[in-house]
């Protein structure tokens, strides 16, 4: 079978996105899984070494991950990880911290208040708004239908 330029391109187009998506999914699985496992390890360290109650330990481990991700973003490491990890670095809470820090860094040149402080909510703002809105609706629903 002989390929013309067009038919070859068609074949390439048919195959590339699918393969890329599969590879992306594997990478997302590995990165996301690793971040969650780190969270679980930190949680268990807090429970067994610092005798923190379980609910607080979950909060402490997310604080640890947020801090870690904020610092890594400052060094420019997290964004490099994001190139490989895709959704695996966006979906965990570390991705949320990254979305707070990176616009804050990016707009630093516009000043500490109108640049950094104003843009810190650029990506996190919508997330918090919709999250709080939805949680309010859920709270009201739980009052109405006990």
């Amino acid at each position: 079978m002989k390929y013309t330029k067009e038919s070859y391109k068609k074949v390439v187009d048919e195959h590339t996105p699918k393969n890329k998506m599969f590879k992306n999914c594997i990478l997302a699985f590995i990165f996301g899984g690793t971040i969650c496992t780190i969270g679980e390890i930190v949680k268990n360290i807090f429970i067994s070494f610092f005798a923190v109650p379980k609910d607080d330990a979950i909060v402490m481990s997310s604080i640890f991950l947020i801090a870690l991700s904020a610092i890594l973003t400052g060094f420019g490491v997290y964004d490099n990880l994001g190139k490989y990890g895709g959704a695996g670095t966006i979906v965990p809470i570390t991705g949320f911290a990254n979305s707070v820090v990176s616009p804050a860094l990016e707009f630093k040149k516009e000043g500490y208040i109108l640049g950094t402080a104003a843009n810190i909510f650029k990506l996190a703002g919508p997330v918090l708004l919709f999250g709080y809105f939805a949680s309010f609706c859920v709270g009201i629903l739980s009052l109405l239908f006990k």
Binding site: T37, G39, A70, G88, I90, I120, G131, L143
Partner: protein, 117 residues
């Protein structure tokens, strides 16, 4: 065992995110918003609680887990304080993480400079 389940469940949630991103060509911000809101909805129906029982940190670390604690906080507070609780509960439950992200984010932005791409 907890670690394996965390890895698998956390990984799977991220794979769902990746598929949604690639299939619908969604921007990261839309993905974050939709995951938090779906976490709230799943939390309301008690489905996410089951996922947390199976997946431990694999379910609490990804953003639907953030939505789940929003929903949990709002429902707990609403049952004890009524309308005010519904307003404040979700925010109270997640305030520690959000405050950390803001405070540390600001400090990091002060001390470091954006990297050239």
């Amino acid at each position: 065992m907890n670690y394996i389940m965390s890895f698998v469940v956390g990984g799977l949630i991220c794979v769902i995110g990746q598929i949604v991103m690639d299939k619908f060509r969604l921007n990261a911000a839309y993905l974050l918003v939709s995951f938090v809101v779906s976490g709230v909805i799943l939390g309301y129906f008690g489905i996410y609680e089951k996922i947390v029982e199976i997946g431990y940190s694999g379910a609490t670390v990804p953003l639907p887990g953030f939505g789940y604690s929003l929903a949990k906080g709002a429902m707990e507070e609403a049952s004890s304080r009524g309308f005010i609780g519904a307003l404040s509960g979700g925010i109270m439950k997640t305030s520690a993480g959000v405050a950390t992200a803001l405070i540390l984010g600001y400090i990091v932005a002060l001390v470091s400079n954006p990297k050239r791409k």
